[in-house]
């Protein structure tokens, strides 16, 4: 028997034995105080952010016009992940924290161990492939009962959020019982709403209360793993739409090259219509491109070599500018997010251009490296 959803995350999973203070550590903080809760939400932001570059690499490596369905699936997932990051930031903002989006530690070098995962697996920047899909499935995998974990580790992202959610509710009611009318939701800076960030099916929920926070977390978890033991993602269905299913199951469709049928049980691979995938219609991006490796290993001659490194640096500069913009947006200035929109779109074109340029290592092409530029 398998069951899909975390049922009762008990606080005993948290240990007091703190280790290194790195923002993406394999140790979740103890969530007892409001400060620890803020730290955990900052972890959640980092966790959501962590998944975005790998998804983007797979998405952009698909040759233009090829694999339209896989493209649309990954695209939707990425847009929703960005929405999750913003909602986690909204919650943090609402409880008086200051979300950090642009920080050296939020741009780790890939490949890298999935933070907080009890399964323990590596996540890298890979071109669209079965291998990459395998990793994505692990990232989005719903929880299965597997017994206790190391402190601060979880079987799924859903479990991680369950721990955050539990702390939010507990600390909020404690605060309310101390006659603090707004509970822990004391942040008074403007929130990011649908008006500022708009994408795909997910909605960005502005957070002013524990109810909003619970709704936001539910949205994040349902979209990722599925709603209460089904493949559906919990968003309202528009009549006649293709059924909307959670990230894990959408990736499964690509992996198995098949659609799910309506209300198919979550334990089985999809068995509906074929979803044709051309695994070869992909730019041959080198795994985990980064400037250091390319500087060292590329056999490109000048001036191509400097031109390529220049193009990669420009991508990184733009990505850093975008993160800076999102950070301002999530810290009380949501209206500035509009300025980030063209950056997002231009990153896509820059990444594709890189993936079409020879890197001078084997017969690979280059790719975006998502490195921190102060």
């Amino acid at each position: 028997m398998r069951h899909r959803k975390e049922s009762n995350i008990r606080t005993h999973r948290f240990s007091r034995s703190h280790q290194s203070p790195a923002a993406i550590s394999n140790q979740a903080p103890v969530i007892e105080t409001i400060e620890e809760l803020r730290a955990a939400l900052q972890e959640a932001i980092a966790l959501e952010h962590f998944t975005i570059p790998p998804y983007l690499c797979a998405l952009y490596s698909i040759r233009k016009g090829a694999n339209p369905e896989a493209t649309r699936i990954i695209q939707t997932v990425v847009i929703e992940e960005m929405g999750h990051m913003i909602m986690a930031a909204n919650i943090l903002n609402a409880i008086g924290g200051k979300p950090r989006i642009f920080a050296r530690e939020s741009l780790p070098e890939y490949p890298r161990e999935m933070p907080h995962s009890a399964i323990g697996f590596e996540v890298g920047l890979l071109k669209f492939s079965k291998n990459a899909l395998n990793t994505f499935l692990r990232i989005e995998r719903p929880a299965e009962e597997r017994g206790p974990t190391e402190p601060g580790q979880f079987w799924s992202i859903g479990e991680f959020y369950a721990a955050v959610s539990e702390a939010l509710n507990r600390l909020d009611s404690e605060a309310k019982s101390r006659k603090q009318k707004k509970g822990i939701f004391t942040g008074c800076r403007p929130q990011v709403t649908n008006e500022h960030y708009h994408g795909s099916r997910g909605k960005v929920i502005a957070v002013y209360s524990i109810e909003d926070a619970n709704e936001a977390i539910k949205e994040i978890v349902d979209q990722g793993e599925g709603k209460g033991g089904s493949i559906k993602d919990g968003d309202d269905d528009e009549p006649g739409d293709e059924s909307k299913i959670a990230h894990y199951y959408r990736f499964n469709e690509i992996f198995f090259e098949r659609r799910y049928r309506t209300n198919e049980p979550p334990d089985e691979p999809p068995s509906g219509d074929p979803l044709p995938v051309d695994w070869n219609a992909v730019y041959n991006m080198m795994p985990n491109p980064n400037l250091r490796v390319i500087r060292k290993e590329s056999k490109l001659k000048e001036p191509q070599r400097s031109q390529l490194l220049g193009a990669m640096e420009e991508f990184n500069r733009t990505y850093s500018s975008l993160l800076r913009n999102i950070q301002r947006g999530c810290n009380g200035k949501p209206e500035v997010l509009r300025e980030g929109v063209p950056m997002m779109h231009s990153l896509r074109e820059m990444a594709i251009d890189l993936m079409r340029a020879e890197v001078g290592i084997g017969n690979y092409t280059a790719g975006p490296s998502f490195e921190y530029v102060p």
Binding site: R72, E195, H198, S200, P239, G240, D241, E242
Partner: protein
């Protein structure tokens, strides 16, 4: 042959046909829609709709001339005109193309025949007409008055703005002589205004308090202000939380249409046919004409999709059906049916001749096609007005390169965003209408694309000059980023001799008539061109625009007036061929858009408009169509 399966037969699947179909099926009526285009294009959902869009886009990318109809199939069995065919009349071969042009000027506007009609390639501008546009005769002694006033039409404008999904800002609409009730109290558009372009803000800042001389004579001064306003558009933007409507419905008791009110803040933009979450915002593809890749821009298939979803059993759509004749009962003068040819494929002439019947008939094809069908049927023409008074906005284009005070290039970064996001509204009405036509001036966001086929032509020219390498790149950058274009869209006055006729000698592949067009510009419009050019010269001079305007005598619609040469261009606003009036002797339809001659025949579309005003006609036509749909429901239930 006859069946009484349907309450109404509609000919055409453009916005007029779609609005009638949706309004009627929402009220429980059974509707048959005949569409001349390909069945494969009538794809309203999911993967099929996505594939159709990919095909249109691919065709568009590969088209060397990216004309308004370039993405869409031009069928042998149901041909559309294409502006690419436009040439000086004496050089045109009547055996080729679709229109047969008899001149003296070539009619330079096209429409598309197929699923969704011309809303597939429309720009999406949704300006209302001005109150004085409805009473030109009374106010200025020109043209004709409408049988209805602006106030009559106002509630229907609100319905049209709901259905199309208009983004705009009410408080920006400072229009000439509109009075305080132009918008209902507290009215807002469904969505916030589409951001104005960078180019707009630069030009606006430099000119907002400017006045120009409109006398046409340097010695004499009649000053007129320049006023800018953001342009309402049928493309998706951020929903306005103060918008309070959620639909248009039929009140069977009161026998009228009304706007359904809801809690404010519930408006949802209507996205792409294949995915409601695509196209929720304009994504800045800068290709509204001819195709919005994400369908953030409204097209009529969105309305048909809603109708079909809500009442699948009430709406029957038959594709590849070309209506060619209305059968008139000689005694009662009622329409007894529509004859149409249903073709197997566009590759062959194989078709079956079929007959559709219903209680009421609605022609919802373009102004030209409606007229053609009526003339072919010898119907609705006791006034001899069918096909007459063909009108368009005749456009004077002026263009140049923007410079700063020191004559250095000043970049405005065109070729971005929707085609136009701001217009100069102050020439839309005024006493000058006694002397010459009014005009609107949209600021164009797409460089010299229209008159000079930029940016492609600029490369050919530069390379032809021997430029290459860095120098070529720098040169093109400086030229292209500074391009500005103004169009003065002048209101054409109704002329009986500007007309669509039919002729036995000119038929298409299926043996249906091709439209034969007679077209010219009156001195009323020509004088407007002269004054507009006089105004443009002043604007260019004050703004340090390096004027590159060039009208060449070998262009299709080049003509001379008072010693100066001009080229006029069509705006695609085809209007007036079966006008509405209060007298059966000089009009084709009554104020309900019922033909005077046949009680069960209604006409919709821009052909009903007695005059054109200075707004793009689609919104007004859609408002009129809601009014017609109301009258049809009233008649069905009487």
């Amino acid at each position: 042959m006859e069946n009484t399966e349907f309450d109404v037969v509609i000919v055409g699947s453009g916005i007029a046909g779609a609005v009638v179909a949706k309004t009627l099926t929402d009220a429980g009526k059974r509707v048959l829609m005949l569409d001349a285009g390909l069945e494969s294009g009538m794809a309203l959902d999911g993967e099929r709709a996505y594939q159709v869009q990919r095909k249109y886009l691919d065709t568009f990318y590969r088209a060397t001339a990216k004309t308004p109809n370039s993405p869409y199939p031009n069928l042998k069995n149901a041909p559309s005109s294409d502006v690419i065919e436009t040439a000086p009349v004496e050089k045109m071969d009547a055996r080729r193309g679709y229109y047969v042009q008899k001149g003296p000027l070539a009619f330079g506007s096209d429409n598309w025949i197929g699923p969704g009609g011309t809303t597939q390639h429309w720009l999406g501008t949704t300006l209302r007409m001005l109150p004085n546009d409805f009473r030109l005769k009374t106010m200025y002694g020109r043209a004709v008055d409408w049988p209805i006033t602006y106030e009559h039409l106002r509630p229907y404008y609100e319905m049209a703005e709901y259905e199309i999904g208009v983004s705009g800002e009410v408080s920006d609409q400072k229009l000439p002589n509109i009075g305080p009730d132009y918008f209902s109290p507290g009215y807002v558009f469904p969505m916030k205004k589409i951001p104005q372009s960078y180019l707009d803000t630069l030009i606006l800042e430099k000119n907002k308090r400017r006045k120009v001389n409109i006398s046409g004579d340097k010695e004499k001064e009649i000053l007129h202000p320049i006023r800018f306003c953001s342009t309402p558009q049928g493309r998706n933007s951020i929903p306005n939380n103060d918008y309070r409507f959620s639909g248009v419905a039929w009140d069977a008791k009161e026998k009228k249409l009304y706007m359904v009110e809801t809690t404010p803040g519930r408006y949802e933009p209507v996205g792409a046919l294949w995915d409601p979450y695509t196209g929720q915002r304009c994504e800045g593809n800068a290709a509204c004409v001819p195709i919005c890749p994400v369908q953030a821009k409204y097209n009529a298939l969105k309305t048909i999709k809603k109708a079909h979803r809500r009442s699948p059993h009430l709406l029957v759509i038959k594709s590849q059906c070309v209506a060619y004749e209305l059968v008139v009962d000689p005694d009662t003068k009622l329409i007894r049916g529509v004859k149409y040819k249903r073709y197997d494929s566009d590759d062959s002439r194989n078709c079956t001749t079929e007959f559709a019947t219903a209680r009421i008939y609605v022609l919802a094809a373009s102004a030209i096609e409606n007229a053609k069908l009526l003339l072919s049927s010898n119907a609705a023409n006791s006034s001899d007005q069918v096909g007459r008074n063909l009108m368009d906005h005749m456009c004077l284009l002026t263009w140049g390169l923007l410079r700063d005070r020191n004559s250095k290039p000043l970049k405005v970064f065109p070729f971005r965003g929707p085609g136009s996001t701001t217009n100069i509204s102050s020439f839309r009405d005024g006493d000058f209408r006694k002397r010459h036509a009014a005009w609107i001036v949209p600021l164009d966001n797409w460089g010299w694309g229209w008159p000079a086929f930029s940016p492609g032509t600029d490369v050919s020219i530069a390379v032809g000059e021997g430029r290459f390498g860095e120098e070529l790149r720098q040169h093109l950058n400086t030229e292209l980023t500074c391009q500005v274009l103004l169009h003065f869209e002048c209101e054409q006055d109704p002329q009986p001799e500007n007309r669509v006729t039919i002729d036995e000698r000119y038929k298409d592949h299926l043996g249906n008539y091709r439209p034969v067009i007679h077209y010219n510009a009156s001195d009323y419009v020509k004088e407007a061109f002269r004054i507009a050019k006089f105004v443009s010269d002043q604007i260019f001079k004050k703004n340090n625009v390096d004027d590159r305007t060039d009208y060449s005598s070998d262009e299709a619609d080049y003509w001379q007036y008072k010693g100066e040469g001009y080229t006029s261009r069509g705006a695609g606003h085809i209007v007036g061929t079966h006008r509405m009036g209060s007298d059966p002797k000089d009009s084709v339809v009554d104020p309900d858009m019922r033909t005077w001659d046949h009680e069960n025949l209604f006409l919709t579309g821009c052909g009903n408009m007695p005059t054109l005003g200075t707004s793009n006609p689609t919104l007004t036509m859609t408002a009129l169509t809601f009014k017609a749909a109301e009258a049809i429901l009233k008649q069905l239930e009487s």
